[in-house]
């Protein structure tokens, strides 16, 4: 039982990270109909910014993270303003290609500034743990789960109660009708990119915390968060979180129990599992668990 609980906890922590990344994808997709392939790059950039503010600018860790989240948000919004706004009216495919290009630019920028060495983020959590019976809870994981829960709660409040949040929902639902109501689609786009940048930074920090864990490769997690987003439904923030948790827990359980239940699947089957889950769910619900049926695919 304790083994199961341990795996469940670790899977949840991993899932919370996926959820933060998937949420970033979903925010932009809802507002603009574009899947932002640069999300992984923004994530890595955010983590490095937190490192730079903490290590180079010598800010306390918490302040460095807040600063990095804000900076990443600004970078996200600026990207929208400078690059993507010029693409309005172009085919979605062209815009998606631009985000892929941006991913490469971000990767090169990061490595030219900080190099390829694995760095220590400088988080205060280190390898501290808390024990709950036989289950070991890493402080870092508890923070990750807590932060993800907080962000999620903030989102629901934002979309439901704030004027801007409602405007974003309206724009997502019908851009022209929203425009007719005096909602600025430009502002909505910029805010979406800003929020998405901030989220990416937060996801990056939770991933890069721990011993020698900050390396330019951390952006690759975006590829695994992808199934999480699809499972949840491309345009559903709640779905993104649920999808992230499903994928994270499935992966953890697969590594833990594969040897006992299906060793014939070959070693390291957990790497394939997110995609298996994705295909299975899509067979039953082609638009994901909470996706809107009108969603167009690329």
């Amino acid at each position: 039982m304790s083994e199961f609980l341990q795996l469940l906890f670790n899977g949840t922590a991993l899932g919370a990270r996926y959820a933060l990344v998937a949420l970033g994808f979903v925010i932009i997709y809802r507002a603009t109909g574009v899947i932002n392939f640069a999300q992984g790059g923004l994530l890595a950039l955010g983590a490095y910014l937190a490192y730079a503010l903490n290590d180079t600018a010598a800010l306390p860790f918490a302040l460095a993270v807040v600063g990095a989240v804000l900076l990443s948000g600004v970078i996200g919004a600026a990207t929208e303003r400078v690059v993507l706004r010029r693409m309005v009216g172009q085919p979605v495919f062209a815009v998606v290609m631009v985000t892929i290009g941006m991913l490469f630019i971000l990767e090169q920028t990061i490595t030219s500034i900080w190099g390829f060495e694995a760095l220590n983020l400088g988080d205060p959590w280190g390898v501290q743990t808390v024990r709950a019976g036989d289950v070991v809870l890493a402080t870092r994981d508890l923070w990750t789960i807590g932060l993800a829960a907080l962000v999620l709660a903030a989102f629901f409040a934002f979309f439901r109660f704030s004027k801007l949040g409602v405007a974003m929902r309206a724009t997502a639902f019908d851009q022209e009708a929203a425009l007719a109501q005096g909602i600025s689609a430009r502002r909505v786009f910029a805010v979406s990119w800003g929020i998405s940048g901030g989220l990416a930074c937060l996801a990056g920090v939770t991933l890069a915390a721990g011993p020698a864990a900050l390396s330019p490769g951390i952006g690759a997690i975006a590829l695994i968060a992808f199934p999480a987003m699809i499972v949840g439904g491309l345009d559903s923030p709640g779905g993104a979180v649920l999808g992230g948790l499903i994928i994270g827990i499935t992966q953890a359980m697969t590594t833990g129990y594969q040897d006992d239940f299906f060793p014939w699947a070959g070693s390291n089957f957990a790497a394939v599992m997110p995609y298996v889950v994705m295909v299975l769910i899509l067979l039953v619900r082609p638009y994901g668990l909470f996706g809107t049926k009108e969603v167009r695919r690329i």
């Binding site: 083994e3 341990q6 795996l7 670790n10 899977g11 922590a13 991993l14 990270r17 490595t111 030219s112 190099g115 390829f116 060495e117 694995a118 760095l119 220590n120 280190g126 390898v127 743990t129 070991v136 890493a138 991933l207 721990g210 011993p211 020698a212 864990a213 390396s215 330019p216 490769g217 690759a220 997690i221 994270g248 992966q251 953890a252 359980m253 697969t254 590594t255 833990g256 129990y257 594969q258 040897d259 070693s267 390291n268 957990a270 790497a271």
Partner: protein
Amino acid sequence: MRFHRGLAAAGAAALLALAGCGGADEEDSGGTSTGGAAAEGAAELKPVPGFDGKTIKVGALSPLSGPVAVIGTPLTNGNKVFYDALNAKGGIAGKYKVELVQEDTQYKPDVTVQRYNRIKNDVVAFTQVLGTASVLAVVPQLKRDKMIAAPASLDAFWVREPNLLPVGGPYQGQAINGIDYFLKNGGEGKNVCGLFQDDAYGEAGEAGVEFAAEKLGFEPAATQKYKAGDKDVTGQIQALSKAKCDAVFYTGLPSDAGTVFGTAAKLGFAPRWIAQSPVWIDELGASPLAEYLAKTTWVVAEGTEWGDDSVPGMKQMVADAKQFDPKQDPDYYFSFGYVQGIAMQAVLEKAVENGDLSREGILEASEQLGEVDYQGLFGNYSYGAADSRKPPTTSTIFEVDPDKPYGLGALEKNYESDTVKEFEYTAR
């Protein structure tokens, strides 16, 4: 910062290569007159592709960008410092300078082949090709071109490959020596397990563990694998913990080592970790894990700790690094690149002695080498025809010591088990 330097160096090397191409023709035309004027006469060597009569060019195919540049950059730097130091002493046979032609492979086999073809006619041999997959990709071409190359990879297949000039004991040997050392030093009868990256490199480590198990008469209590880049290895670590592993032999890359050790530390799993040499990276010694690693981890590699003046090769290398690249930090991969330089120097000296720097001449020289002494930096390698080569059978067991340069202190230098001598190296 290294990236800038690497790029700049690659750019400069490409320019030099271009300039070299243009220059070679001019010198060729004037070569007869200078050749005739040379009093040594008989010792004068015929220019061949990659050698204009004065300068010998050797190639380095290494990832200078991308995630593996963290290995490629210091390794290539090791090549470079070695040749700079050699040139300062006059060069090969005291008179032929060696020039390094670098190309960035991005750790991609297809790019490696493309870059190989780009510079193969500008160099006499390759002093470095980094990565198991990249080496495999160029071997057929090496054979066709009769070219030799020194692999920056410790796979066991290289030993029997005539066109390759390997250095160091293969991964399998590290695993065998590491486990043997554990069993003979308080580990008898204890549970030995394995944790491997899920690819060809991981398989090499696994093969070593399996061989050790068979010869030393134990059954691995558990074997686990993960995919490079995985951010959660809780399942694997739990399985090892459940199997009551007292020692775990671990084959992986530095980019995952933090995740693996971090997960083990937080789950309170503290076996004797016996790690393959590429696992280690100095940042681990500066991380919050330092204390855990100092208690639990051995790294199996070669030679001695950085800055150990009692070992002549190390003393020389540190002095050369200080003189020719003062910014170079202590680094295992730098040593590897430097050692590759020693191997190539031995081959080139022999080829010059034979009076033939052509590809065929160099290939022939590599078969006449006999034992090359690495001055304690790496174990001595006995070369010769590929089927009679004997790689070093010694490994040094390092313990994690954050106070030492590079975070590693030598626990047992040049340990050689009886088992490792029985390991047969076969061609791929």
